[in-house]
Symmetry: C2
Subunit: 396 residues, 2 copies
Amino acid sequence: MSGTGGGPSPPPAPAAGRGEPHLLRRINSAAVLRALRDADSARSLTDLARATGLSRPTVEGVLEGLTRAGLVAGTGQAGAAGPDGERRAGRPARRFRFRAEAGRLLGVETGARRVSVVLADLRGRRLGALSREVATGAAAEERLARVAAVAGELLEECGVAAASLRAVGVGTPGVVDGDGTVRLCAALPGWTGLALGERLRAVFGCPVRVENDANAAVLGERWAGAAVGADDVVMVLAGLSPGAGSLIGGRLHRGYGGAAGEIGALHLLGRQAAPERLLSVSGEPLDPLDEQAVAAVLAAAREGERGASAAVARFVERVVHDVAALVLALDPELVVIGGWAAGLDGVVAPVARELERYCLRAPRVVASALGDAAVATGALRLALDRVEAELFAVAD
Amino acid sequence: MSGTGGGPSPPPAPAAGRGEPHLLRRINSAAVLRALRDADSARSLTDLARATGLSRPTVEGVLEGLTRAGLVAGTGQAGAAGPDGERRAGRPARRFRFRAEAGRLLGVETGARRVSVVLADLRGRRLGALSREVATGAAAEERLARVAAVAGELLEECGVAAASLRAVGVGTPGVVDGDGTVRLCAALPGWTGLALGERLRAVFGCPVRVENDANAAVLGERWAGAAVGADDVVMVLAGLSPGAGSLIGGRLHRGYGGAAGEIGALHLLGRQAAPERLLSVSGEPLDPLDEQAVAAVLAAAREGERGASAAVARFVERVVHDVAALVLALDPELVVIGGWAAGLDGVVAPVARELERYCLRAPRVVASALGDAAVATGALRLALDRVEAELFAVAD
């Protein structure tokens, strides 16, 4: 499954032929690279030797290999000049830095109504983001082409060559297999059965990891959003086709068949109405993908229109029930409400209040901090995980 | 938290002073003990050396220590006589066996209506079991005394001294803390806040592990019931106060606060009636602990009485919804239906059928194989885990 990416050659191949066994060389190389990656500024040989506990000659050998692999750069005479610009006495220490620009990462959300992409460097630092609409009825090929076009546009905007992509993460609605094939997806036409990972590997020429959108979202919130530091998290993408992603002990809970959190059918229990009917003022169900119709109801409710307010109240109650069922089953530490419904006035407070009623131990409830960017950010985190595994993993 | 059990002294202290480091001695000792425990019959020194990869002198030293600790017995001249009873030529090989009788284990269910205990040897082989009623309104002290009395009765019946107990596992309704304190339990009077583990350690004089009853039940089914070989399992104890226990990747999922699977409030979602009302023919809710009233409705339904049949159908629908909510959240491989409701005609088939409707990927659904014994069996498994960790763990 490992792709053939552009950019510098993947695993650092440092200091060959020094008599160290291969595994030990990898361990040493990963330690030095990590020390450089985690540093805010360039580090000297002495500093690196102290930080890693390795000898100076070992660090030197490792740096040689990492430099050859394009992952490290020496900063010439840096450190030679003091803060006041004057030259200091003695031989200036050479310094080294992690070349975060040695490769790029892409996080992609393939939503029903939009394609969102976010670009980052090898540290995961965001270089740019772009979101473009896509027709809800778009066929799979059209949607794939849209992904390629939006990504291409962002790369060009940021002046980044496509060949520098090292890994791509993707968040998509539906149940996703380990190999990146969409096993089941009702929301996107032609998506079920699509070898999404394989297709996008061909587009981007690098490894691609595909994950369910709610699963990606919870990874995003934990990395850089409302769930930083939390290990047991349920995130709900609330909307007309709700989904949930869960972390248990800090790890994604996918379920036996990858369908954990596919709660779209919860409203069927007890013969309750579907969300698209609950949110309707006329009684006719809304089109789940018709954002404008939804927005109209929300706007009317905000203006105090009684029918619309009642519709929103019904819908929020539905969100409460979905979340409560997940919480009773999983007992998370934290619930994050995302999706467009997270923006509803007062969806977080009612959820928190009702959970206090239903649960023996109610979790904290917060709104998504990443909002619309949650899925693409989580997808980016998947890409970063992929690259870090390559750069820093030493086992096998 | 480790108690002072009776019986032979716990961790094998073999072959001291032979110059081997302590950890290595423990590893060797655990390997030999495991080889003996897993064998169907006594094994010779040669056989043990081959099975463990250790030298004969090392095995001999280890066996000496294990024998002194009471965990191993030499079988004198065993192997000296052939199957035909005739003496064989040459010096007979001495053989050794694991003394499973060196200690006893107890599994306890402290239910609302009954106390059940099961007794086993150090291999987990069942020596006897006993179940006695207890008043649903019994105060905590009375219930604790009942546990001690029922356990004492079983030990006496089996001719086992209380001092030989090495570990006790307990399954109880409610949310249980890691130290064996019941944090919350609505079903048993005075149970909330009870330091159940500590109290029973005082009674039994050995380590006690306490777990939620549904959690114990799923461990029991996986060890010796309907879930053998399955790693992702949801078990529902269906009844008027339903609860669920889940295995994820082979490990118990307790939740962040130990309340995972406490689904008693699920019926509140969507303002559905409580199970005790659903199962009522008169419309007045049944007493959830009144087994006879429940039995009367079930009997009437079996005889085709229309009101009772409708009540049972409503109740089964409730079970279906509870299970479906858990399955949508967790996506298990297997669902096991336990509790008295598992015995209802056709509860398994409707659950399986409805899950096919609701779930993107429906799990297998089976009835509990252990029935009434599921919780006590799982509690026994907890006790066995405790002892095995002591006997075989070598880390630290």
